[in-house]
Symmetry: C2
Subunit: 149 residues, 2 copies
């Protein structure tokens, strides 16, 4: 009988968000609120959070979730936010978290790579594969209701 | 005068480590010790850590560093460890952290993608680029002296 090959183990999204609202991505409180909400929207369970000021004016934050992690590092002076979301298992939908977070950041466009991680090529040797795309965001402010301003 | 284009803002390494020692990557204490040491070897300052059991037998951990983060999620039953290291600025060397961590995990081979993040294409629009390779590791055990067994 052929050896069982495991399903890919996780999905990791690497995102460069441009045109973000400096008032949002420069606020430790707002960025924390957005990332925790993003985890909830993805269906993940939040285990721990760590957010702080990232000199000179940005925010650095990590949300540890049961299914892995979400992190961001922001540069309000450039309108730029780096975001990554890594999840394992089938019960979470990390793409929902990405879309929520970039819109809540007020981004006008984002460049994204989805990495499928832990693909077994046989004999417990693992690799990853990726696909990259860009998206522009319509300014509908539909997620702003989630933010306590 | 042409507008100044920023240097790339960060480097993010995405690593699939295969053939790892289950006794190492199945121990919360050892994995935590390895990732904190990896951060130090890279020249980063550790701000916060969060490590826990990842069901059924793995370890999930994040080290928040001043220059961004290091995270891992392990599957001892597969000898597999997923690792990512994201750093900003010039004063840290994330590749040193990667090499230390995969060797300390006891990996026999690893598949790695280095993503250069926050590359400005003009007008504060950012993207990333990447390069992928694989490496086999010689079993010299040279990093084991760093582990309290």
């Amino acid at each position: 009988m052929p050896k069982k090959i495991h399903e890919p183990i996780g999905h990791h999204y690497i995102v460069e968000s441009s045109g973000c609202d400096p008032k949002v991505i420069g606020s430790v409180e707002k960025v924390q609120q957005i990332l925790v909400r993003a985890a909830e929207i993805a269906g993940a369970t939040v285990w721990a959070i760590s957010f702080s000021r990232f000199p000179p004016s940005g925010v650095s934050g990590v949300v540890v979730i049961s299914e892995s992690h979400i992190s961001t590092h922001t540069w309000p002076e450039l309108g730029y936010g780096a975001l990554d979301i890594y999840t394992c298992g089938r019960k979470v939908d990390p793409e929902k978290a990405v879309l929520y977070a970039v819109e809540a950041f007020g981004a006008t466009t984002f460049h994204i790579t989805e990495i499928t991680r832990g693909i077994e090529e046989g004999d417990n040797v693992f690799f990853h594969s990726f696909v990259t795309w860009e998206e522009d965001i319509k300014k509908e402010n539909k997620y702003k209701k989630d933010l306590k301003r």
